[in-house]
């Protein structure tokens, strides 16, 4: 591998990692603060992609579609939290796992009823619908660069909120000791609703901006879910910083693992997870 292709692979790894971060950030927030293992996280990524596919067809504009789809995603999170999760907080984790597993089935079936079994696409939107020449024979879609930029910007915003706002302090405190936060007079119920809606919206948004780069197909969220759990476990549950570096590590490992050790490509992320857990059982940044 010469330097040019090594650099392109670095770019590939970074881009994949940043997208993974965006998907995993919602998962780690919900997991860390609410203690809920949201198995339906991948299904929400899929719903985001399908929403933007559908709305782009209806409205004729990708950017407009995203503007409409985001409130829908937030509302979806709100409804699920208030109607279903709210009744289960007092119960054991297993009930929540069962509920969110059920949600996968319901959301997948809803997808099939509404949008059918065919594969769809979203056209890469203007003004990013062109490519730049990277090497002598390879081009790179500018939209991929744009997605990287969006992911980085969002990572910055999330980091700022968590580090430098009152809400961030509550979130960080909640991740460490939920009962104490409640004892200090914070309305945890409202906090939970907020966190869950934002978490769902982040994932769905990842599905939306990734839509032009992927194919929109039934079950597209199922495989991404497992990768996201690996990211969250490596980074440390509840840690946004951990999710960021975990995602970058997994993005790079997937990219370079595929090329350098193809026989282990499907295993490499799990090997990394096992190694991290051996050294730091609570993850890198927990």
């Amino acid at each position: 591998m010469d330097l040019a292709f090594f650099s392109v692979q670095l770019l590939n790894g970074l881009q994949y990692g940043l997208l993974l971060f965006l998907i995993a950030s919602g998962l780690t927030l919900i997991f860390g603060i609410m203690g809920i293992i949201n198995l339906a996280h991948g299904a929400m990524y899929m719903i985001g992609a399908y929403l933007v596919y559908d709305l782009t067809l209806r409205l004729g504009n990708f950017w407009l579609a995203i503007m409409v789809a985001i409130p829908i995603a937030i509302a979806l999170g709100l409804v699920i939290e208030r109607l279903f999760l709210d009744t289960l907080y007092k119960r054991d984790h297993l009930y929540q796992v069962l509920l969110t597993f059920g949600l996968i089935l319901v959301l997948n079936e809803a997808q099939r009823i509404i949008w059918g079994g065919n594969v769809h696409r979203v056209v890469v939107p203007a003004p990013f619908d062109f490519s730049i020449q990277l090497t002598d024979n390879m081009q790179y879609s500018v939209y991929r660069l744009f997605v990287m930029g969006v992911c980085l910007a969002l990572a910055g915003v999330i980091y700022w909120v968590i580090r430098h706002t009152r809400l961030g302090i509550i979130i960080r405190a909640g991740a460490v000791n939920r009962d104490m936060v409640e004892g200090l007079g914070i309305n945890v119920r409202t906090l939970f609703t907020l966190i869950f809606s934002v978490g769902v919206a982040l994932t769905a948004f990842a599905g939306m901006i990734a839509a032009p780069l992927t194919s929109i197909a039934p079950g597209m969220g199922d495989s991404i879910l497992i990768t996201c759990f690996v990211v969250v476990v490596i980074g440390g549950i509840g840690s946004i910083k951990g999710a960021f570096w975990g995602a970058i590590i997994i993005g790079m490992a997937t990219t370079f693992g595929a090329v350098l050790i193809p026989s282990l490509a499907s295993m490499v992320i799990y090997l990394i997870m096992a190694a991290v857990l051996l050294v730091k059982p609570r993850g890198l940044f927990a």
Binding site: V8, Y16, N118, V119, V124, T214, S215, A265
Partner: protein, 389 residues
């Protein structure tokens, strides 16, 4: 005396029950058990096969050999672990006359086990695993679809004849993908071509960027690939977006693009694939099939619909020959094996291993359609050397 009476009465009743059962079997409806995916990733395939099958039987007035038809539809969920249990339910519970399925090769493995135990007549309308008509072949199992080898083997010679000498092959790391690549590689290297590298992507990942970068650095003359469904769409679109299509033509098995032309858009233009069907084939059977299918379902048929349709046509022909009499299983199997169809895909007959003998077409996507360039291999028979029955 009393005992004798009782026994003879019982015997009499037994016999009459037997007679009425066999009369029932031939007078009642023909029961077709459909074991296809109606949920999950392969939903579209299951539905297309069902549509095609029902269309063929509808054209016969919803009858097979003069008998009414009853469908028992079971969602296979494309889940191999549920396959034996589902198949048993159809055969032993619903007592179907024919089992039609599956789409997924993993499910086929489970079904074949039950087919072996029960002798249930099984027609495979999709699953392309070679073993089903080779190592695992049995008299009561037929295939109306293809095997991975059959669709990819002809592309080897085509690629060589187009002047390609060094080729990279890429697929998912699973049995179906590897069988497909093996067919292509066998033919391509036999011609004198070289496989620069075989790339196996973890299934079902659709994150292709690093592999495309690798391909760009290897600089082969062309790339041969097998992906299907959403993965196929992603690969073709990523390949085009990476600007590789111009310098290295993309070749593939027809499943790369089948059923997904709309989702491919411009990225699909110029992609060449080999398959046993193309919707643009100009024969009478295809033209009337395409218009009938469009009328009935409001969309263009794809190869899966044709496979379902031919399954239906096979049953129509066989049961017409038998006058609807399915009681003699040996005869039924014999008649099925000798079915010859003027299918939408061209002439279709069956080999000794019950595998289709059919044309494989070279197709190129032009203006969003699979245009037929040539017949890549005429009346191709799959060797199935390990099959003994």
């Amino acid at each position: 005396m009393k005992t004798f009476k009782k026994t003879s009465l019982a015997a009499l009743m037994g016999t009459s029950a037997l007679i009425s059962a066999s009369v029932m079997a031939n007078d009642g409806p023909v029961k077709l058990g459909l074991m296809l995916p109606y949920s999950g990733t392969y939903t579209a395939l299951g539905e297309a096969i069902t549509n095609g099958l029902k269309l063929a039987i509808e054209q016969e007035g919803n009858q097979l050999g003069g008998r009414e038809v009853e469908y028992v539809q079971l969602d296979s969920e494309a889940d191999p672990s549920k396959a034996p249990q589902n198949m048993s339910r159809l055969v032993n519970g619903d007592q179907v006359d024919f089992v039609i399925g599956p789409v997924h090769s993993g499910v086929a493995m489970g079904m074949l086990r039950v087919a072996k135990q029960t002798g249930a007549i099984t027609i495979i309308p999709n699953a392309g695993l070679g073993a089903a008509t080779n190592e695992l072949c049995m008299p009561n199992v037929f295939r109306t679809s293809f095997s991975m080898w059959q669709d990819s083997y002809p592309m080897g010679k085509v690629a060589y004849d187009q002047g390609h000498r060094k080729i990279v092959t890429i697929t998912w790391d699973y049995a179906g993908g590897k069988e497909d690549l093996a067919g292509f590689e066998e033919a391509f290297t036999a011609e004198g071509g070289e496989i620069v590298q075989q790339i196996l992507v973890p299934f079902p990942s659709t994150e292709f960027q690093s592999y495309l970068t690798q391909i760009a650095s290897l600089k082969p003359d062309a790339v041969y690939t097998f992906f299907a469904g959403g993965g196929g769409v992603s690969f073709v679109r990523d390949y085009a977006a990476a600007g590789l299509k111009e310098s290295m033509p993309l070749l593939g098995s027809g499943f790369l693009t089948e059923g997904n032309l709309a989702a491919l858009g411009d990225a699909g233009e110029g992609v060449m694939t080999t398959l046993h069907y193309a919707e643009t084939l100009e024969n009478d059977a295809n033209q009337s099939f395409v218009s009938a299918y469009e009328n009935a379902y409001g969309e263009m048929p794809d190869t899966y619909a044709v496979q379902g349709y031919d399954t239906g046509m096979m049953l129509v022909q066989a049961l017409n020959v038998l006058g609807g009499d399915t009681s003699d299983k040996e005869r039924l199997i014999n008649v099925l094996a000798n079915v010859e169809l003027a299918s939408p895909r061209g002439p279709l007959s069956f080999s000794d291993s019950h595998h289709p003998i059919q044309n494989i077409y070279l197709r190129e996507i032009r203006d969003g359609k699979h245009e037929v360039v040539s017949i890549a291999s005429e009346n191709l028979e799959v060797p199935d050397e390990a099959c003994q029955m």
